[in-house]
Symmetry: D2
Subunit: 332 residues, 4 copies
């Protein structure tokens, strides 16, 4: 089996997560890391066994030995990197979203389509074993026609206001995962959205034209309807659930348990909350998505989450923002 | 303790349910039954120990011995009976809805307001022990401000098309319970609705301008937002659940269990579906609501579900219909 | 349908429970109540609509109009009443146990066997819908051969010491229900027991040669083995569960839920304890067992829990006491 | 941080599991593998990056560079290896049991006690996060005095008869984990046992004087009583649960979920069975126990599971065998 040479662009929280897994992967060698703060991270990089660090991602893209890159840098750098890397024939794993601008995202899509590379978007939830199992059952048509889909997606606590300012807004930052999940699960395109929302958790968020709580209605090409609920705060932990209703039954996917212990006392029965942190909740999914990317390169198969998927989720996010502002449903 | 003399108007399925309970109630004597088919029911009526039957409900209303009536006749008779009975000082328990027409419902509200009688609407779900417990926790403010409320309400199978034709439509017939529940739980008025829906279960329903599946977004005076999901068919049983998210946590109220048995086999762990039939699911609630009505009369206290509550639920149902037709949010 | 005339002997807690149900039963008229304290209960008896009260149960047994009696008097009166009533041809519903003495119980069994009457023992748990469902599955042989059975039976709090003194001991008073359940579920006879136990909850109980916590091993004729766990105190409520393991799977029957509400907070997810009080836990079962008794009389069919069942449970209880004292397994 | 040099003795299923983890451990270098079949495993060993292989474990023990060994060879080799390795000052991780003979085990204990080494027994379940959490709650005394403990431990399917023959019997092979868990959870010594059991799953097992189903009663120094249930077959998966009852409540630790998906259909609600394979169920625990061993060496702290713990579990297993044969309780 051939070994793939990787470069990772951006070594923040999510970049480090990917690096930690890639360094144990039998088919991968990480040759490069690029990060503006890479000087401060020398020790960590050395421990990770990575030979080269740089502040300029172009050093990676221009290295002919590099087979694939992982883009974990800030969103506003994604499109340029995608265009440069696809021109050089590097395979790309890219964290979401492609861009905050739909026009720029389109340029990225075109660049990839013209090239021969694999690009996989980092919609990690598709690779969660529970959601994957749901999707398998649906793919087989076991439920028949679908009437409704419901996605609950709540963060344990809101990010700092500084993050909110640059996030692109709730729909682009948080719900984008749910838009992708809705398309992935339903296997039909979204044709209309209606979004409502408020800054109910932290009113300061409203000052930056953003919201922290949302209910979004989706209509699909196949006639099914769906609802996404988001909130930036669920004090009991990271809440990620899906329910679907069809002709022959319903399926719900609940939260993971932190433990299997039930404590019976005079005041009731207590069990632990689900994991609080998204990296803990999806720790396996992050590995499985990277395995999938590596497999797609090695076996020259389709990626399981394409740049077109990324583009569509982004498009829906923008339509939701329009819907929220106008208080009108919007066609896609 | 004084004994109340009751007359029951309409001896169909729900009428019989109330009669069966009232005949065991220590503070009640049922003196009259009125039903257009009462001739065919002689045996059943006799067994129930009720002395008088009639085809004309006015016989009941004009009987000075009668303290209270229970209206279980078709919806289009409700308003006239309410007006007549309240004029005669009879207390009224009335099944939902007041009317399919808001103007007529208003007349009924006025008639009751001018009188001195108690009128309780038959929103039985308020009296379910689980939803009641949820409401108690919320009344105490334990969750703090509420961000979202979600009500799932699915019937096991659609009613016959004949029923659909005369039902007033999904919102007036089925969702009306959920509108009442939303107001009851949230303790705040609904100020805007957006409804979407389709005839996804039985396309024939669309021929009668009705739908069988709906997602409804609600905005409340207090800023909270809510979602109601309805479907006329959930093959696994009657599905009645509520979820609420607030500052200090979340509460979900699940379905009742039909049994506590778990069956572990090679192909997985199986447990029983929830009760299939709404009369089974809410059998206790029907008794508790009637106890509440009797208590309100005997102790001269406020009913726990007033005609104004009935009017408001009806108003919301009509706004949802407008929203569905126009595909626009509607203010109340 | 003919109406059965009943007399109830003993109007304590359990007697009143049976009376409250029998007075609503369409096929039954309660003509008599006997209780040593019946003078103090005049008002309650009158309200119950029962015409005759007496301190002497013989008044009931000698009344030729009486079809059936319900024995809820103290255990030491059971055998005499059974002998007298069966001689007079009265059907008998008898609370457990038959007697604290096996010899006396044998006399009662013989008296019943010589007569033509129905006698049903008050092992109410056989009539619980959950345990009944378990038994149905097992009767059909779905699990194949059984390896193990486990019965958990815990009271929420120990009875007063005064009760303990006259109770006949844990095995005769509490475990007797579990012995009956073990036989009922397994459909095989118990051939050996080994009992261990201590007064771990209240050491004062040891002063009366009794225990409050027990683990009992049972061997069955069919080769299966079983374990019963008892404790006089489970602070979180009345705990009644069964587990069974067989060739083709396992079944567990859990506790009933007091509500379906889950409360998610920062410190975990809380749900309500099971019902605290046995009369609440088995409220339906008490009605179903009485229906079964009435049906057996009216249709002349076998009772679902015979005096022989009562005798066998008692025999096992006594062998367990022997086992506990000798710390040796005992053959039945 | 210093790097520890390891040798692994025995590269069967469990040996390979430990090797796979140790090779990713930052503080460990595996220098040696010894296995009688090591010639056939050359490729696997090479891939694992281990330089030296041998058929003679003494090559490892005599290598002065080796800091620690992991004993995964057949049980009858354990005592000699422990004696040799402790004499050479090698730290030891040893799979259970120490030996099938108590006298030999005693020699091993003495050898370790005379040396200065760390020896950790491979009772992996102590390191399961769920059981650990239970133990933490108990250590804090939250439940008060304990009345009963119950351990359920069922394998999904019986091992081959060839394995049974050499296993030392159910108690020594399988229940030994539960004996250790009982001591670990209860924090009190077992003073008496009574064991009953049969070959109910596979009668052929009886031909080798062994059983496949057992119920074991334990009495503890602190007065508490306990029950262990074992079966060699639970067709729905590996079943590992604990329940404990105390003054202030009860705790149950259930099985892990394979997924969080509930499938609602007309015939009931289905969820997945727990993991089938013990290596999957305890995959984390195997890593955590090895971390603990490495930590104990590096920080010179006590191991969390000592050779004395191994000895005591073995002693109880032998007493249970005596109890089973004589059908008598046995004092420890």
């Amino acid at each position: 089996m051939m070994t793939l040479t990787f470069g990772v662009i951006g070594a923040g929280r999510i970049g480090q997560l990917h690096i930690n897994y890639l360094r144990t992967h039998k088919d991968v060698k990480i040759k490069w890391i690029s990060d503006l703060n890479c000087d401060k991270m020398s020790e960590w990089i050395e421990k990770s066994g990575i030979q080269n660090k740089t502040k300029d991602h172009k050093d990676i893209i221009n290295d002919p030995e590099v087979d694939a890159i992982v883009i974990c840098s800030p969103t506003d750098t994604h499109v340029d990197i995608i265009k440069e890397a696809s021109a050089k024939g590097k395979h790309i794993f890219c964290e979401k979203p492609i861009s905050l601008s739909l026009e720029e995202a389109e340029e990225a899509v075109e660049a990839v389509q013209k090239s021969n590379i694999k690009l996989q978007m980092g919609f990690n939830r598709r690779f969660d074993k529970n959601f994957k199992q749901l999707q398998n059952i649906l793919s087989k048509g076991e439920l028949g026609q679908i009437q409704t889909l419901r996605i609950t997606s709540r963060d344990p606590e809101p990010p700092p206001i500084e993050y909110i300012k640059r996030s692109g807004g709730l729909f682009m930052d948080m719900t984008i995962h749910d838009f992708d999940m809705a398309r992935y699960i339903m296997q039909s395109e979204i044709v209309e959205v209606y979004a409502t929302g408020e800054a109910l958790v932290n009113p300061e968020i409203a000052e930056y034209d953003d919201i922290d709580t949302a209910l979004i209605t989706l209509k699909f090409e196949n006639g099914s309807i769906a609802m996404i609920e988001n909130c930036r705060r669920s004090v009991y932990g990271y809440d990620q659930r899906i329910e679907i209703l069809g002709d022959h039954g319903a399926i719900d996917v609940g939260n993971e348990q932190s433990s299997t212990l039930n404590y019976h006392r005079t005041d009731g029965i207590r069990r632990d909350n689900p994991p609080y942190f998204f990296l803990e909740r999806y720790s396996d999914a992050y590995r499985v998505e990277m395995d999938g990317f590596i497999d797609a390169i090695l076996n020259d198969t389709d990626v399981l989450c394409s740049i077109e998927d990324g583009y569509k989720a982004q498009q829906i996010a923008l339509k939701c923002k329009e819907s929220l502002i106008s208080n009108q449903p919007k066609r896609i």
